[in-house]
């Protein structure tokens, strides 16, 4: 099997993973061949984000628990040379390049020293940008990193698909796909409300009772999560239900 075919197979496995843990495991099963044995993928929090909120940014993680806890409680994200380098650079890089490019600094030395305690001596970081413009990264580390150009290309692609899969899993399990279903009548009533018609006028136009038109508008209001009729109309326009 050719090199690229193998890459496709890995990516296919990553895309079929049903949980974040399975994504981690499948990505690491490939990268551990090159000495990359630990993985974290996350969106980068703004400086000053509390450690409990930083946790919500993590998409994939197989770091030793103790190391993750230490990283969060000591707020290492603000001192990690890999993270600072990432904010300036759009291309993948090796951890040691990040350390070299930084002016010597006590707190960043501490991060890297502590990382070595957990067998994280060197690694690769892949910076990415989400749809919303957030900076994200996949960071893979280990004791000794060694890979050829084509292996690097493979890891780079597989990492992107891994964090992408993690994001997909997150959106399917939570909100986002919250399609609000308005009935045709609710839509019609809103459409008339949008041009300033009263409940009585709407009832005359549509040939229904005033009570019914009021009910349709109330239902639409609650479906749209609006506080009053004006907001309901505004939300309906914003979501494209009426024009």
């Amino acid at each position: 099997m050719g090199h690229f075919d193998r890459t496709l197979e890995y990516i296919d496995q990553v895309q079929r993973a049903g949980t974040a843990a399975a994504v981690c495991e499948r990505l690491l099963s490939v990268t551990s061949n090159f000495g990359l044995t630990a993985l974290i993928a996350a969106t980068v929090p703004q400086p000053g984000t509390s450690s409990s909120q930083q946790k919500d940014h993590v998409l994939l993680c197989d770091w030793p628990n103790e190391w993750l806890e230490r990283y969060l409680t000591r707020n290492y994200v603000d001192h990690d040379p890999v993270v600072s380098h990432l904010k300036q650079l759009r291309a993948p890089f090796q951890w040691r390049e990040a350390v070299q490019s930084m002016p010597a600094d006590k707190s960043s030395d501490e991060v890297m020293r502590d990382a070595r305690e957990f067998k994280l001596r060197d690694g690769l970081a892949f910076p990415l940008i989400t749809l919303e413009g957030q900076i994200a990264l996949v960071s893979l580390g280990g004791e000794a990193v060694e890979l050829s150009d084509s292996e690097f290309a493979m890891v780079s692609l597989a990492s992107t698909y891994a964090i992408g899969r993690a994001m997909q899993l997150q959106t399917t399990t939570s909100k986002v796909i919250e399609h609000i279903e308005l009935t045709p009548r609710e839509r019609e009533c809103l459409q008339w409300a949008a041009v300033g018609k009263s409940e009585w006028e709407i009832s005359q136009i549509l040939g229904i009772s005033e009570h019914t038109s009021e009910k349709h508008l109330l239902n639409a209001k609650s479906k749209l999560g609006a506080a009053n009729r004006v907001q309901a109309v505004a939300e309906a326009i914003r979501h494209g239900y009426i024009s």
Partner: protein, 212 residues
């Protein structure tokens, strides 16, 4: 609103035709510095603006805000003729596979510094809607690698066609996107806009603001 026009239809509207090729010049020659495309008239036109191409135009307030060009893979296209090295294996082609090229958002319509603007996502919603309406379910893109993550966020099934390569100071990776109704739902949810974006007919004269 997004309008899909054939090259013939576009040529029948000199105002749109010029706006399209001027925008393409601005983005691909001035901004991206693709020197091969430079022309003294400040219009970017290539051999693929043929009669089988489809041009997608997003019009906002009487201005051309976004653009992309769709090419059938049953005729020569970029992946087959210009950048074949981006494809390692078998090149996907057929009536259900088109290639998306010249994706462009006009400078005044980019919302944030890094994220994808509403015009940008309208182009995406537009090609999915357009494709599903004519039995096209796969689109080839040659893009910067960050786009791969974004397409996954939108629940496209993405498959790499090769490794990324460097052109000038740009990284490019060819990717095949497969989509269905679910993809369209996700794209629409992400945009917070559930109404179709594809418009019928042709846009009003540019510069004419719609009274609404």
């Amino acid at each position: 609103m997004l309008f899909s026009l054939t090259t013939q239809q576009l040529m029948e509207r000199p105002d749109l035709w010029e706006a399209v090729h001027r925008l393409r010049y601005k983005i691909f020659v001035d901004e991206m510095r693709w020197a091969d495309l430079d022309r003294p008239d400040g219009l970017e036109i290539d051999q693929f603006d043929h009669d089988a191409a489809e041009h997608h135009l997003v019009i906002r307030n009487g201005e051309l805000a976004g653009y992309q060009r769709m090419l059938p893979t049953t005729r020569p296209h970029l992946l087959s003729d210009v950048m074949p090295e981006l494809c390692e294996g078998r090149r996907p082609s057929g009536p259900n596979v088109w290639e998306l090229t010249r994706y462009a958002v006009a400078p005044g319509f980019r919302d944030g510094k890094r994220g994808v603007s509403t015009v940008g996502t309208e182009l995406i919603a537009g090609f999915v809607e357009w494709g599903l309406g004519r039995n096209i379910n796969q689109v080839i893109i040659e893009v910067e690698p960050v786009w791969v993550l974004r397409t996954l966020q939108l629940h496209f099934l993405a498959t790499p066609l090769g490794y990324q390569r460097t052109y000038g100071n740009q990284q490019v990776v060819a990717t095949l996107l497969t989509f269905n109704d679910h993809t369209l739902d996700v794209v629409r949810s992400r945009r917070n806009h559930h109404a179709p974006v594809l418009a019928r007919g042709t846009p009003d004269m540019l510069g004419m603001r719609q009274a609404s």
